[in-house]
């Protein structure tokens, strides 16, 4: 077993514990328990999330030391790195915005898609292409991580808007603000996501110009990233100008996230071209 795998499993274990506690916290059956009423369980969720982020950071560091470069290339590395950054940013939001805490029951299972995916992959060493020495890679990837984490936070709230159409959803998210506020908060995350998405595209274009001699070439990943940006812009125009029912609002956010998800974890691996770094 390679060095990073035990840390990865431990980190995912901590995320799993956080998920279970978050689900326990919203379940109406336990609503009468003092620990739930006082929302003390949220500290446990926060603690397990922080533990997970720390353990995943160790996993990434171990792998970095083992193969000599950061988590930039293979799908295994990308998923591990995203699990860490999504967890880190969600921890910050969870800590600073208690109103969105119950939405962890939507956010954490989405992260579990990545968590269960990474466990199916081989942690084989990857090759670090010469074009990845460029400093803009850090800017591009860092901004992309913030963008995806903001979208994920928006998805959590979008899920709340949709699930609240059911009785069970209303009971689960009884401690959250009204739909107006949840919707507004979700779209504020979308606004910030648009800023970081735009910055990510700019930094990516600068990197592409240096690395491959063109700033934009409609390669599959670029096209997919542009479509995500466009869909986000369309969503924001609709939300700011028309009356959008909460369910539609939620579905629009989930649609943007799904496209972004496909861009991150699909497009780079169906194209053998530049973005995979093999040229």
């Amino acid at each position: 077993m390679v060095a990073e795998v035990p840390w990865l499993w431990s980190g995912l274990g901590a995320y799993f514990a956080a998920t279970l506690i978050a689900i326990w916290g919203v379940a109406p059956r336990f609503a009468g328990m003092p620990v739930i009423q006082n929302r003390r369980h949220e500290y446990a969720v926060l603690a397990f999330l922080m533990l997970g982020v720390t353990l995943l950071a160790v996993a990434i560091a171990e792998r970095w030391l083992r193969i000599g470069h950061g988590p930039w290339i293979s799908l295994f590395e990308l998923l591990m790195s995203q699990l860490w950054s999504l967890g880190l940013i969600f921890v910050l939001l969870y800590w600073r915005l208690p109103g969105l805490r119950p939405s962890a029951v939507i956010v954490l299972p989405v992260m579990w898609i990545l968590g269960s995916w990474v466990l199916t992959l081989e942690p084989a060493a990857s090759h670090f292409p010469p074009t990845y020495y460029n400093a803009w890679k850090w800017v591009h990837v860092g901004l992309g991580k913030i963008f995806l984490a903001l979208l994920l936070a928006g998805v959590g709230l979008a899920g709340v808007l949709i699930l609240r159409q059911t009785r069970r959803g209303q009971a689960w998210f009884r401690n959250m603000p009204s739909n107006v506020i949840v919707d507004r908060l979700a779209w504020r995350f979308m606004m910030l996501a648009l800023v970081f998405d735009s910055l990510m595209l700019i930094a990516g274009a600068v990197w592409a110009q240096d690395a491959w001699g063109r700033y934009w070439a409609w390669d599959p990943l670029e096209t997919s990233a542009f479509l995500t940006w466009l869909l986000l812009a369309i969503g924001l125009h609709l939300r700011l100008s028309y009356r959008v029912p909460p369910v539609v609002s939620g579905l629009m956010i989930i649609g943007v996230f799904m496209l972004a998800f496909a861009t991150y974890f699909g497009a780079p691996y169906i194209s053998p071209a530049a973005h995979k770094g093999v040229v």
Binding site: Q170, N175, I234
Partner: protein
């Protein structure tokens, strides 16, 4: 005077028709379709699938910036939309003036415009390479186990404005930039046989025969050439000895490489080493040197710095707008913040502003809870 005012009003009314959000949404939807059709640059997709929606969006942006107070009276939003318009204009200028090309430069030779291959230039490209002077020097390429290409260090000599020659090292993400032209090293590089041809009764000519890319085509280092005034083709096969090792780190460079040239003319085959002659029916051939060639990608677009600057300005504008919007209304304020909400229409679902109910149960929600203050 009154007539002029009327004309301005008529023009504004005309522009307002193009400023609608519906046109913007249509333009964005068409651009999304165009982008999907352009996915992966399939052959045969016409450029207008992108150009037409961009043109529609440009018209819509001009109209909206001019007539829509929601845009032109909010500095951040105005800067963002002006930046979008400028990006479209700059991208157009860039496509009209750009140049994309490839070239193969043999070590020791200089750049010449007539060496460019696969040229793709915009109709307004200036086409002048008067101030682009450089000479290819030796280069090295590092390889990792598994034949994974690493860093390229390509030495070039550049002629400065003062006329002096200055050495530089380029490679991978460090292009050689001269007069806006950007030369990028590529994976396409290989060996060259420098040959002198002495035709029977003619003047000697020295030239080079580039072999296919190495190590990509390590197994077929061959090429062919027909001497001027002859019908017989001469075939060359270069038997190379390099540091190549698929299972270890190694460096590709001319200094640690050697080769024997196998020359075939008609049914005769000759082995020629460095400095040796071979007598062929059409003349005499001398193997002068074994060196290398580097394949460059050439890129020219005078707008790239402006694109970057304008894009950043646009993002600053957008950030300013969002910041102002978020600061104007606290995160927990129940007051409506969109046009639809301001129109007094209730939102569906739980806790709509019109109902005044909290969030679907009997637990009141406080501002402190959402914003992280003590509770």
């Amino acid at each position: 005077m009154r007539c002029r005012c009327l004309r301005v009003l008529q023009m504004l009314n005309f522009l307002r028709k193009f400023a609608s959000l519906k046109i913007a949404l249509l333009g964005m939807a068409l651009l999304a379709i165009g982008a999907m059709l352009s996915y992966g640059n399939p052959l045969g997709t016409p450029v207008w699938v992108l150009v037409a929606p961009m043109a529609l969006l440009a018209v819509n942006l001009v109209a909206a910036i001019t007539t829509n107070p929601r845009i032109n009276q909010q500095p951040g939003l105005l800067v963002f939309h002006v930046a979008l318009l400028l990006l479209l204009l700059l991208a157009t200028v860039g496509r009209l003036t750009h140049l994309d090309a490839h070239l193969e430069l043999v070590v020791g030779t200089g750049f010449e415009a007539d060496k460019l291959l696969e040229i793709n230039a915009g109709p307004l490209h200036p086409g002048s390479f008067d101030s682009v002077h450089f000479v290819q020097g030796p280069y090295t390429v590092e390889y990792s186990p598994g034949m994974q290409r690493g860093l390229t260090h390509s030495h070039v000599k550049v002629k400065t404005a003062a006329g002096a020659w200055e050495g530089r090292i380029v490679g991978d993400d460090r292009p050689l930039v001269m007069d806006g032209y950007r030369f990028y090293t590529t994976f396409n590089k290989g060996f060259t046989s420098v040959l002198t041809w002495l035709p029977a009764g003619g003047a000697p000519v020295t030239g080079s025969v580039n072999m296919p890319s190495y190590p990509l085509f390590e197994y077929k280092q061959d090429n062919r050439w027909t001497p001027h005034g002859s019908n017989t083709e001469i075939k060359f096969w270069l038997q190379l000895k390099t540091a190549m090792n698929a299972e270890a780190h190694w460096v590709l460079d001319a200094a640690s490489s050697s080769g024997v040239l196998i020359v075939t003319s008609g049914d005769k085959r000759y082995e020629v080493r460095l400095g040796e002659f071979v007598d062929l029916p059409q003349g005499r051939l001398r193997f002068e040197a074994l060196t290398m060639w580097m394949g460059y990608r050439l890129f020219y677009d005078p707008t790239i710095q402006w694109l970057f600057f304008v894009a950043i300005m646009g993002i600053l504008g957008l950030t300013h707008y969002f910041w102002k919007k978020i600061n104007l209304q606290p995160w927990m304020d129940e007051k409506p913040d969109t046009i639809a909400e301001q129109a007094g229409k209730p939102l569906d679902g739980i806790g709509s502003p019109s109902s005044g109910k909290p969030s679907g149960n009997n637990a009141p929600v406080t501002t402190a809870y959402l914003t992280g203050e003590k509770h």
